[in-house]
Amino acid sequence: MNGIGLLAIGETDSAMMESLRAALETEFGVHCEILEASLDPAPSFHLERGQYSSTDILDRMQKGFAPDSDHLLGVTPLDLYIPILTFVFGEAQLNGSCAVVSTHRLRQEFYGLPADGGLLLERLVKEAVHELGHSLGLVHCDDYRCAMAASHDVEAIDVKGKSLCSDCRARALALMTRKPAVKR
């Protein structure tokens, strides 16, 4: 893996994006940059569901943003879905190059609680590491402390850590070295 690009989808908080960038650089040990361009989420909106299709967003990321980095992570404040599920925190192309995460359901306000910026960033980093792990080819991990542990609600996200466990890290390293770098 040569690097990670962060792409804003909709209106994102720049301070939060910078904190996320720094955290991902630390976790994966590769260069991470915030792209100047952004993706318009509107074409991925589903009127009946009132949500945005994460799969459609991934397709548009793949087509519209030939990444300068190996991996492109979209970050959005909007509520995401895949057709069969009521919502997703994020989605990744398994063993691919694009991933997307949403902060919509990571916010305390979504659950009727007072805003907590620190907790939101912590959850975002965990989900970002998780989705980037999928794009590397990792699947869910049985170690509940690992960032690759399955988390279908915020409680599960809060329980797990921001880092990959030693097994997933070793597997990620093997997958990163096997993967050819995307042409710049």
Partner: protein
């Protein structure tokens, strides 16, 4: 990485199949998809699946019908019905036709993950339960092995002697004498009893199928070998292999079998990689293997390998004193399974059963008792309840004493009243015969004629 389980998704909507299969793959499951019932049934025939997620509304076959078809082909497949709208009718229909659960689209991610996790845990527990029951049954002395006759006491002593050893055992006896029960008793008496006893019915399979059954095969080894399969010797894995009807195997398979017994190594069909196997061998036959060796149809070296310790099972006609015990056991067994209040067998019926020669041995006796239990109208089985394969020449209903008298007089008449000759034919001494004739008040006919 090991898969958490195998899930087959059946839905006519491509978007559902794609998004669900991707989501389950990320969860660590192995996933297959089918766009309808026919394709799903074909996939079920090709591979083993743990769970099928089935859409209730599909154009070629609805989910409930497909579920029934699945159950016919693979009864232990766990089925979860997916429905587009929640309704009590749908849920009831799905659960009544045997679905494990039903889920409403779109799914809450945690609910879906939880349902599948629970279904797999349930399935694992069921499989373990079945395996444990089998192990417990295999590790205990088979209750059907019954007898107090001298012949059976010899068999029990032999089982006790050879059971705890590693010796190969050859069990001989007519069909229906209980050779497999003796093999199970040997396994139960051995240190291998907590591992499996695997039975190979050698006489029932064609040569190529038997080879694959015994030694396993690699994927593509022959037409129809779509997956690698372990053979019986590998499956036994520290347990016992029972080769039933070993006299029926071809000379080629005999050669392969000899190698396995000598080397404790097998080679799967379609492979040249030897695999070490750990098993104890018990074989059985109703054939005269010695005669077959002389005729050249059975390898002598294999015969000597199998005939390390031999147990000869007597036919039932040679241990008729065990018939009442056996009958009592079968009556209790069938009374329980048929839920019929039959307590026992009338004395006259027992006498009749004791006179019969039972060419089909204990299997025939068991079948006769089962049939009698079906037709029985009272708490005691009567002579009329039994239908014996070979009639008893009109002696049914007679007591043992009456039968003995009739038989002795019949033999005496055939011997032209020569008591010495009749005693020889009857297998008793002349004094015993004389005393019995005196008791019957028999008089020499020639005396009257004089």
């Amino acid at each position: 990485m090991n898969s958490k389980g195998k899930i087959l998704i059946v839905d006519d909507e491509l978007i559902v199949r794609d998004s669900l299969s991707k989501w389950f793959r990320e969860e660590g499951y192995e996933v297959g998809t089918a766009e309808g019932g026919r394709q799903a049934l074909a996939m079920l025939a090709q591979q083993d699946w743990d769970i099928a997620l089935v859409d209730i509304k599909m154009p070629d076959m609805d989910g409930i019908e497909l579920q029934q078809r699945f159950h016919e082909v693979k009864p232990d497949l766990t089925i979860i019905i997916m429905t587009g709208y929640a309704s009590v009718e749908t849920a009831v229909a799905a659960l009544k036709s045997g679905a494990y659960d039903y889920v409403v689209k779109p799914f809450d991610p945690e609910e879906m993950a939880h349902t599948v996790r629970n279904a797999l845990a349930h399935k694992k527990a069921e499989r373990e339960n079945v395996a444990l029951k089998e192990r417990v049954a295999e590790s205990s002395f088979p209750p059907e092995l019954i007898g107090q006759s001298a012949a059976m006491r010899t068999v029990f002593e032999a089982i006790e002697t050879v059971g705890p050893t590693e010796a190969t055992v050859l069990i001989t006896g007519e069909s229906g004498t209980g050779k497999e029960l003796v093999a199970r008793a040997i396994h139960a008496a051995s240190p291998r009893r907590y591992n499996r006893l695997v039975v190979a019915h050698c006489g029932a399979l064609a040569e190529t199928l038997l080879e694959s059954e015994l030694f396993g095969h690699e994927k593509g080894a022959f037409t129809g070998a779509q997956y690698r399969k372990k053979g019986i010797f590998e499956a036994a894995d520290g347990g016992t292999v029972f080769l039933d009807e070993v006299g029926d195997i071809s000379l080629k398979t005999q050669t392969d079998l000899l190698r396995v017994l000598q080397e404790r190594e097998i080679t799967r069909v379609g492979s040249n990689q030897p695999i070490h196997v750990d098993f104890r061998c018990v074989a059985a036959t109703n054939k005269d293997l010695e005669a077959m060796v002389e005729q050249g149809s059975f390898r002598p070296d294999l015969y000597y390998r199998l005939n390390v310790f031999r147990i000869d099972l007597p036919p039932l006609r040679k241990r008729k004193e065990d018939i009442p015990l056996l009958v009592d056991h079968f009556v209790r067994k069938f009374a329980s399974s048929m839920n019929k209040p039959v307590q026992g067998v009338s004395r006259a019926a027992i006498n009749m059963l004791m006179q019969y020669d039972w060419p089909g041995n204990i299997r025939e006796l068991e079948n006769a008792v089962e049939r009698a239990m079906v037709v029985a109208r009272s708490g005691e089985l009567q002579e009329k309840d039994f239908t014996l394969r070979i009639p008893l020449n009109g002696r049914s209903g007679m007591t043992l004493e009456e039968v003995e008298r009739a038989h002795i007089l019949e033999v005496l008449e055939q011997c032209r009243n020569n008591q010495t000759l009749a005693a020889q034919v009857l297998g008793i001494d002349r004094v015993t015969l004389h005393n019995k004739l005196k008791k019957y008040g028999w008089k020499r006919p020639t005396d009257e004629a004089l």
